[in-house]
């Protein structure tokens, strides 16, 4: 069929931030499906809690301090994360580099805290169903910490190469967006893992 030009898009930019960027929507899609995974894991925890008369099963409640330190660190990380996102949106290379490095360091710290946390749950995964679901939930969240850390480090390194373009800044802001999800998901998980055993 004969084409009839009605609109010209040649002046449009080649990248955008936030909901303009398809990658942002892709990230949101993965946040939705991973969030569903967390919600189902929480559901499984509550289900097991309901079917057992005693909870936690024949062990002491977990030491909440490592998890609480994690909560504080993650909530505090919102600030540098916001600065990384702002620097990326402003295409401010020195600050983008700086805050990506800071966020990488925070990621390493969070992974280390998670190791400490596993050791203070007072239970192994193979002791009973309580131990299994606790390790499952911590492990699921740890996977998110580790993948986001990997992503952040790769982007930090990229910002020191010749590949710094507009789109890279957009990637940095999407990565910051994902970190909010990693932080936000820990709040209900923390309340669940350390609150329910004390009910």
């Amino acid at each position: 069929m004969r084409p009839r030009p009605v609109q010209d898009v040649s002046e449009l930019p080649t990248y955008g931030f936030g909901s303009t960027s398809p990658i942002w929507w892709g990230t949101l899609g993965f946040v939705a499906l991973e969030g569903t995974g967390f919600a189902l894991a929480i559901g499984a925890y509550l289900y097991l809690w309901q079917v057992n008369s005693q909870w936690p099963l024949s062990v002491a409640s977990p030491n909440h301090w490592p998890g609480t330190v994690m909560l504080i660190v993650l909530l505090a990380s919102i600030w540098p994360n916001l600065l990384a996102e702002r620097a990326a949106r402003a295409e401010d290379l020195p600050n983008t580099r700086l805050w990506l490095i800071v966020m990488s360091a925070i990621g390493v710290l969070a992974v280390a805290i998670r190791g400490w946390e596993f050791a203070h749950m007072n239970i192994r995964w193979d002791s009973n169903a309580y131990g299994s679901i606790v390790w499952f939930i911590l492990g699921l969240h740890a996977t998110h910490l580790i993948t986001d850390l990997g992503d952040t480090i790769v982007l930090a390194v990229l910002m020191f190469t010749r590949h710094v373009t507009g789109k890279r800044y957009s990637d940095v802001s999407d990565n910051a967006f994902y970190w909010y999800f990693v932080v936000a998901s820990w709040v209900p998980l923390w309340a669940l893992l350390y609150g329910v055993p004390r009910l």
């Binding site: 084409p3 009605v6 609109q7 010209d8 040649s10 303009t20 097991l48 299994s132 499952f136 373009t165």
Partner: protein, 637 residues
């Protein structure tokens, strides 16, 4: 530098057709070498592979069904032993659900959605290629295990405690659980791609109320996948952990609970039915619009019905668990919601009937399959309302009545529309039309064969014949109806052979299709058959939900895109107002290598949990290499 920049920035605005074609082809094509083919990220190439692979698994699943039917044709037959029979019904169900039904629907979407939306590639095309390789690996893994006599044998839903470490030692269930991980990873990836393609890459002017109904159906399906499939991944991961590292999720002796499995599985498993059925409704809508020669009757009602079905599908899962002794109030709720979902489904059927009533229907093969769908699916829906009732369900649970019901729903509701879709879109994909005469034979054999095979199963179920038995005694009196069902199954099988012959013959000798052989209205018919690597030489501008019927003489288009690098238009969510000229990734071998690394990790994990730790290294390397910019024009914007 300036000349290079100028070359990289050449736009389509002032190019004539021949030069535009030459340059766009060079930019978008998949090269002829093996490496280039394995690196392809063209949604049409990947979509075609997906479709062919899914149909290959349909063959395997179908052959396992034929073997079971031959065994059941007579009482006390000796063709298959109980162990092989257990593996076969598990392989049949698992293959049909995870390797055929869901992937084939996503496959059609991968091929068609970008064309229907008027864009040049799917969103995240490398993820798309990756998802195909992961899916293929999962399918090969399952069937290779079966050939090695470690095929899973615990049913497609692998209930605990049967599937747990105490009652299923060995690797069979591990194979099943990891196959789930493979196929769900791939399905989830495609779901995200389809959502983002639909949200962001619609041709300018394609507001929400101009989205083709097939795309709406795939959009809703993708949301179902995103919210349902994590449940089966969580469940199968817990199962494999119970089996391999001694967790106790499903072990009642240590505080676990076997019914937790059923809840998680059916929280996925019921939406799964709609993940298969909703795309089929999109196919039905496309075919009905084209062959009734009028725009959809009740476009808004159809869209809202699909969305309503999507929501309601999450409130039905307990109706698979009526005999597990759950509280009556819960059962009553799920009975009510199971009946409620009949309402939006009914609205859709009445809209389609109204379109046919009010149009000038052309009874070609695609429409015949849609009419077959009405007949069969409505029977399946009616037996569905029956089993939604707890007392009836308690009577017929685990009998052939249920087997009859869900085959009426799934084959009637999904396979018949799918076969209609094959006849409908084959000309677009291959450039040639399938033989109409063989198509009519195909339809009637499938229709008669299906009903002869499955209708008797209602009666067998009411007579008390249980599912999943490898044989029965002559005194039960089930012999003649079983023989009849087997004869029907063979007729159905022949109808598929006919389809295969038709496809092979017509692909090389069929009547050339031209761009739009059915005079259809949606955008995939605005381009050549098969489409060029770049889909559209200029991106269309959409003015109606049947754009080609609204613009008979000329097609409004937009200009200004690069011809030297892969560029697509990305726009706003509701209005599809163009926002950016987004680059689309160029071909890469890394998605294949990443899929191999992921597949190797999954495979290793059934032998040692350390495989996950060691496997993460090649996975990380391949993923980083995949994302690392290569200095191409697409990377440097």
């Amino acid at each position: 530098m300036s000349t290079q920049a100028a070359t990289h920035d050449l736009r389509d605005t002032h190019l004539d057709d021949a030069e535009l074609h030459a340059r766009l082809t060079r930019t978008w094509r998949t090269g002829p070498s093996l490496i280039a083919r394995l690196s392809s990220v063209d949604h049409k190439v990947v979509g075609r592979r997906y479709i062919l692979t899914a149909f290959f698994f349909l063959c395997l699943g179908g052959l396992s069904a034929v073997a079971m039917r031959l065994q059941l044709a007579r009482p006390e037959a000796k063709l298959l032993g109980p162990d092989l029979y257990n593996q076969l019904f598990t392989m049949h169900g698992t293959t049909m659900m995870f390797l055929f039904a869901v992937p084939v629907m996503e496959a059609f979407a991968v091929y068609l959605v970008p064309l229907m939306l008027g864009t040049r590639n799917i969103a995240f095309p490398r993820l798309n290629a990756f998802s195909y390789w992961v899916y293929l690996s999962g399918g090969i893994f399952l069937w290779a295990s079966f050939m090695l006599k470690v095929g899973p044998d615990v049913g497609w839903f692998a209930y605990t405690p049967l599937s747990g470490p105490d009652f299923s030692p060995g690797k069979r269930v591990d194979v099943w659980a990891q196959m789930i991980t493979f196929t769900e990873v791939s399905a989830l990836a495609v779901a995200v791609e389809i959502i983002v393609t639909t949200f962001k890459q619609r041709a300018p002017g394609m507001t929400l109320d101009r989205i083709p109904l097939f795309v709406w159906s795939m959009l809703v399906t993708s949301f179902l996948i995103i919210f349902a499939m994590p449940a089966v991944m969580v469940a199968s991961t817990m199962l494999i952990l119970d089996r391999l590292v001694g967790t106790h999720f499903f072990n009642p002796a240590e505080g676990g609970d076997a019914l937790l499995w059923q809840h998680l599985f059916w929280f996925f498993g019921h939406p799964e039915v709609y993940i298969i059925f909703i795309p089929a409704t999109g196919m039905v809508s496309s075919i009905i619009v084209t062959f009734s020669r009028r725009p959809a009757f009740g476009y808004l009602a159809l869209v809202l019905s699909i969305i309503a079905v999507g929501f309601l599908s999450f409130g039905l899962w307990v109706h698979h668990m009526f005999v597990t002794g759950l509280p009556q109030l819960g059962n009553a709720f799920f009975t009510a919601s199971s009946m409620l979902i009949a309402i939006p489904n009914g609205i859709q059927i009445f809209c389609w009937l109204a379109a046919l009533w009010n149009g000038r229907p052309v009874f070609k093969t695609p429409l015949l399959f849609v009419l077959g769908f009405f007949f069969i699916f409505i029977i399946g829906g009616m037996s569905g309302v029956m089993v939604a009732s707890v007392p009836i369900d308690t009577q017929v649970h685990d009998t052939y009545f249920v087997v009859a019901h869900f085959h009426y729903v799934l084959i009637g509701g999904a396979v018949f529309p799918l076969l209609g879709a094959v006849y409908y879109w084959f000309p677009k994909i291959t450039g040639r039309i399938l033989s109409e005469r063989m198509g009519q034979w195909n339809f009637w054999l499938a229709f008669i064969g299906f009903n002869v095979a499955f209708f008797p199963m209602h009666i067998l179920g009411l007579q008390g014949m249980p599912r999943r038995v490898y044989t029965y005694l002559p005194e039960m009196g089930w012999g003649s109806l079983n023989m009849l069902a087997t004869v029907g199954a063979l007729i159905l099988f022949i109808s598929f052979l006919l389809l295969l012959i038709n496809v092979i013959g017509s692909a090389s000798r069929g009547v050339p299709a031209g761009d739009n052989p059915w005079d259809a209205g949606t955008l995939e018919w605005a381009t050549t058959s098969p489409p060029q690597p770049y889909n559209f030489s200029r991106i269309p501008f959409v003015t109606h939900h049947e754009p080609l019927w609204d613009n008979r003489e000329s097609l409004p288009v937009i200009t200004g895109l690069s011809v030297e690098s892969r560029e697509i238009v990305s726009g706003t969510l509701t209005e599809a107002y163009p926002e950016i000229r987004e680059s689309s990734p160029e071909p890469s071998l890394w998605p294949l290598l990443a899929a191999l690394a992921v597949g190797g990790t999954f495979l290793g994990s059934i032998f040692t949990p350390w495989a996950v730790v060691w496997g993460s290294i090649p996975v990380a390397i391949t993923l980083i290499a995949w994302f690392w910019p290569k200095g191409t024009p697409e990377d440097e914007k």
